[in-house]
């Protein structure tokens, strides 16, 4: 196991976990378990909070500012990416006070197109590198994939972990790959996709979260969007607990990104309530929380119009880019 990029501030019990694979395994297995019944109960409880009027308006704008507007299809073209970038710049042409989204998320070969369209804006360019979505390739290819995205102008990298290695207990390999990709990224922020739909248990989600945090991931992200289930409230709750505990133990703030399956304003608000009450209000910020989504933005825009206009206008009044 490589031990590069050890944060000098890391407390000894966390630094020790990084010494070798055996220590890492011991540390991950020593994490508190997750009781599914209690976890899901808490998620269901949080989902009943009532967000209306002023609170809703604030939540909608916040959610818009947290969207990583995403297109990850085999059929992606330069035209598709350009129109997505235009949408990112001006989500609602009729309402210029609408916040812009956090980032546009594309495959590495489309980064250059997106970067050209978004030059001069504060919108990030995220790219799903590392043999996304399966992650089934050599480390050299994953590094090359990441390098391509970075060279083309990506400002954020979304990597997938090797779920096969994780599930077979080879946590050192997963750790090393994250460390290696973070090494390539340098100061560019790295989102580590756990693909929770393939991890099977909440205990695995907690362990994978800590593994990614220990290896230097800036974000932990639920899913690629290609596997079902993608993001769920209980899984996101476990990940929010992980970054909160990481903050308590290190003082560092790491970010969380649920991705896949979040399509409605109502859903997004449930996530924001969870962010607020599980991690804390500090995480109500696009720097520390993102939604990976493609269709969510339009529902947010329609609900935003409903709040400002006083009536619902329908999908023909927002753009379909």
């Amino acid at each position: 196991m490589t031990t590069a990029h050890v944060s000098p501030a890391l407390p000894s019990h966390l630094a020790d976990a990084r010494v070798d694979e055996a220590s890492l395994k011991r540390f991950l297995r020593g994490l508190p378990g997750v009781d599914p019944v209690g976890l899901e109960q808490r998620s269901a409880g949080l989902a009943t909070r009532s967000i209306k009027k002023g609170a809703k308006k604030q939540a909608i704008d916040l959610a818009i500012s947290m969207v990583d507007l995403t297109t990850l299809e085999g059929a992606d073209t330069a035209g598709k990416v350009r129109s997505l970038a235009a949408k990112a710049r001006r989500p609602d042409p009729d309402n210029p006070d609408t916040p812009t989204v956090a980032a546009v998320c594309v495959y590495p070969d489309m980064v250059a197109t997106a970067a050209a369209e978004l030059a001069g804006t504060s919108i990030g360019i995220a790219s799903v590198a590392t043999a996304f979505p399966s992650g089934r390739s050599s480390l050299a290819i994953k590094i090359a994939d990441t390098q391509l995205a970075l060279d083309s102008g990506a400002t954020e990298i979304d990597m997938v972990i090797d779920r096969g290695a994780f599930l077979s207990g080879n946590v050192g390999k997963v750790f090393d790959e994250i460390v290696a990709i973070k090494g390539v990224c340098g100061s560019t922020r790295l989102k580590v996709i756990l693909e929770i739909g393939e991890l099977g248990t909440y205990d695995n989600v907690r362990q994978a979260s800590w593994l990614a945090l220990l290896a230097g991931g800036d974000f932990i992200k639920t899913s690629t969007g290609k596997i079902s289930p993608a993001a769920t409230l209980p899984v996101t709750q476990v990940m929010l607990q992980a970054v909160r505990d990481w903050r308590d133990q290190t003082g560092e703030y790491r970010a969380v990104k649920p991705a896949g399956g979040i399509r409605t304003t109502k859903d997004a608000i449930k996530y924001l309530v969870m962010v607020n009450e599980i991690a804390g209000p500090e995480w109500l910020d696009s720097h520390l929380f993102r939604f990976g989504a493609s269709s969510l933005l339009n529902d947010l825009l329609m609900q935003r119009r409903t709040q400002t206009d006083g009536h619902y206008s329908g999908p023909n009044y927002v753009t379909v880019d």
Binding site: D218, G251, P281
Partner: protein, 489 residues
Amino acid sequence: MTTASAAQPLQWDYAPAPESAAIGRIKPRYQPYINGHFVDGGGVDDVTINPGTEEALATVSQCDDANVDAAVKAARTGYDKYWSKLSGAERGKYLFRIARAIAERSRELAVVETLDNGKPIKESRDVDVPTAAAHFFYHAGWADKLQHAGLGAHPQPLGVAGQVIPWNFPLLMAAWKIAPALAAGNTVVIKPAETTPLSLLVLAEIFAEADLPPGVVNILTGAGDVGSALVNHPGVDKVAFTGSTNVGKKIQASLAGTGRKLTLELGGKAANIVFDDAPIDQAVEGIVNGIFFNQGHVCCAGSRLLVQESIAEEVLAKLKDRIGTLRLGNPMDKNTDIGAINSAAQLARITALADTGEGEGATRWTSSCAIPDRGFYFPPTIFSNVSQSMRISREEIFGPVLSVLTFRTPDEAIAKANNTPYGLSAGVWTEKGSRILGMAGALKAGVVWANTFNRFDPTAAFGGYKESGFGREGGLSGLAAYLRPELEA
């Protein structure tokens, strides 16, 4: 690595979402329900107030001894003339009808309960009312199957049941008591607490609409003197009481030698035991649910947290963070987690008992949540550095006050948990299955929850050991408390 310490956190306040009080259809005046009619009691009218605002809700006609006598006689006639003559299947139909009506009027009942009791609407809506309906549904199913309950081939009802219920779960406690009594073929005279009579009087409307024969259920209003007259009435064959241990002791003394059956469900000081291998985040949830559910007005509340010393600091820190997110305030707001204390008297009791904790040297921590100007409220409070010898770890506080003790080994946890005059419930938090089973066998408590707390189901028997009473409610053993084998007849 991102060390970006977050900027100024966003101040995002949830919108208030109060349920409309109009849904409760509170009438200006309520009367006791005797022999199938709402009639004036012989006592002076009393006012029931909304503990969330201290405003008067309704006046309630109070009963006197003559009303108690009339109600017991009506129950006897109802038993002889109607209820004992019906087949189990017919009794079951009435119970199903009542269960459906509770479900249909669930919003109204939830609002009435919250206005009268002070508990958060989300608890009355999501717990009290659905569970009350579930008790009627469950027992409706038993009404025609009593011969399969393991109590002999033809178990017989006892006759007239006199029941007294407390103010913490008025509707739910009424369902716990009335449903099995009726299913088993008994008739009922029941008295709710003087501070929370309304939901039971709405239930009386449901009984009337269900065409329950006259006298089968009678509801008396009034304070302890009415309850005392009821349980001591010679026409009562069985007494069921839920309430304080002191009153339970008096009832037991006065019934001794009369041959009348008695079940008591009294106080508690439950231990909620958290081992170092527990699922900590869910344990914190369970601790919160154990003591702050219904403002801690729960006889089985997990009021003593026993946490393994090796994780005590971590658990306490997480617990305080979590309690900081609890929203205290208007019980009618759907966002409210902690509502009002039921009465000024109860608030005074909690305040006084909590104050002794500091006097005895425990460390007090209180949530900094805002407290409404009007109404009876007590902020969530934790005492750490508590020892077994302190009053706060021995006496039932019946409020949102948690005492935190530590232990080192499972044996020590068992010794401390059982070192109480009570024995109603306990909780165990561990990922180790064998430990759960071992602890459940060793704890002297009627209910032991594993990796959860304060969960209720009509099929699960509930009741206590030692000064927490005897007899069970719910499940087969609860049914047995209202039946005798044919041979005893």
